[in-house]
Symmetry: C2
Subunit: 224 residues, 2 copies
Amino acid sequence: MFNSLHMHSFTEENYLKAIYHLSEDNSMAVSTNQIAEMTNTKAASVTDMLKKLADKKLINYIKYQGVTLTESGIKAAVNIIRKHRLWEVFLVEKLGFKWDEVHDIAEELEHINSEMLINRLDDFLGNPAADPHGDPIPDRTGVIKHKKLVRIADMQAGESGTISGVSEHSSVFLKLLEKLGLTLGAKIIISELIEFDGSIMLSIDQHAERTISREVAKNILVIL
Amino acid sequence: MFNSLHMHSFTEENYLKAIYHLSEDNSMAVSTNQIAEMTNTKAASVTDMLKKLADKKLINYIKYQGVTLTESGIKAAVNIIRKHRLWEVFLVEKLGFKWDEVHDIAEELEHINSEMLINRLDDFLGNPAADPHGDPIPDRTGVIKHKKLVRIADMQAGESGTISGVSEHSSVFLKLLEKLGLTLGAKIIISELIEFDGSIMLSIDQHAERTISREVAKNILVIL
DNA sequence: TAAAATTTTTAGGTTAATCTAAATAAATAA
DNA sequence: TTATTTATTTAGATTAACCTAAAAATTTTA
């Protein structure tokens, strides 16, 4: 079943995705332990899988030196991410799910294998540029248009911008933002940086004035 | 991952579905070989799985005597069928697939596990009663409303009806019906039964007059 | 109803993905 | 730069789902 050129097992796909996401921030080779943590497995299991993925030329792997994805590994990972994000848009836009409810379901849907399905879904959704969390959706050729985003934590008093992404996707965090009115598209203006604890006062959509912790501010991304 | 009350593995689900479909016509206990054929496995593998399903109280199994589904086995199977058919409606109604293209994709989608997802999909689709092939969609409590359908092969000259189902789901067959204009909703009138080879002449939607083989006629289902 | 054919089960293996425990390599600290 | 700690890999098992070949049960046929 999982033998054709573009077909990788459910599990292989999850490793590829994990490696991709880990190398997004890192920009360095990814370590065995990092992968183990992300995939909820043990280091020994990861080593086994790395050998397998290396045999398939999906990763560059040298013992003890971590891994990077090859061209075809990146392609495979990006395709899974495309599917994940399109399904998330579907769940929110068409089925009325909230942005904090869609991750686990998309995690299953992303492994459905049909190019035609995903391209038609893409069209049905109007070829969205971003998922419900603001993350960019790769197009059908694998190209990702990244926006220049800034963390609220890095902004100065007086600066303003539009909330366009988050760097923390947990349900608790997303529910909090929802409650605070800090959702995608909200326009914010930084009123004051509190020196004592690094918390930040800002106004949201001209009216609500709020103070948020530095920890929250680090995980909200804005277009200036 | 597959441990909670309603969770069965991908493979277990496929066996349950196979047993369900085999006992639809049979109405008798289903044999090991029948299951092996339907699931593309060998009899020995089936025996292994039957023991497992029996341990889980999903089937009634006595060595050498075939199997029937238990109440909870039926529940599980019907739920999978519900998901399969709802996804087929989605693929045809929303994504523009043809009725002969959706089976394999739905075969994958049917294993996505989220009650909320499937109920919302159901609502999004307008709670359809039947899938693109006319097969009834179980409601969220597992109830299936069967229509009284008659095979064209069993009709008499002069009788009329509306095509409402098929008993053969292969792509070749469905494409043929498409070409002949014998799709769901078409109104037919039997003009003549050809004694020589059992083929049948009929009119479709008042105009087209066609002759179809007995083999084709056996697999088209009609409401009188 | 005994022999032959068929069906089903058992026995024993394989593969993918996982694990624990032990061994080895690399990084850090004294 | 040696010793200690940490990270990674290897060795050896386990589990689910499958297989082939042989044995046992059932069914069919003569």
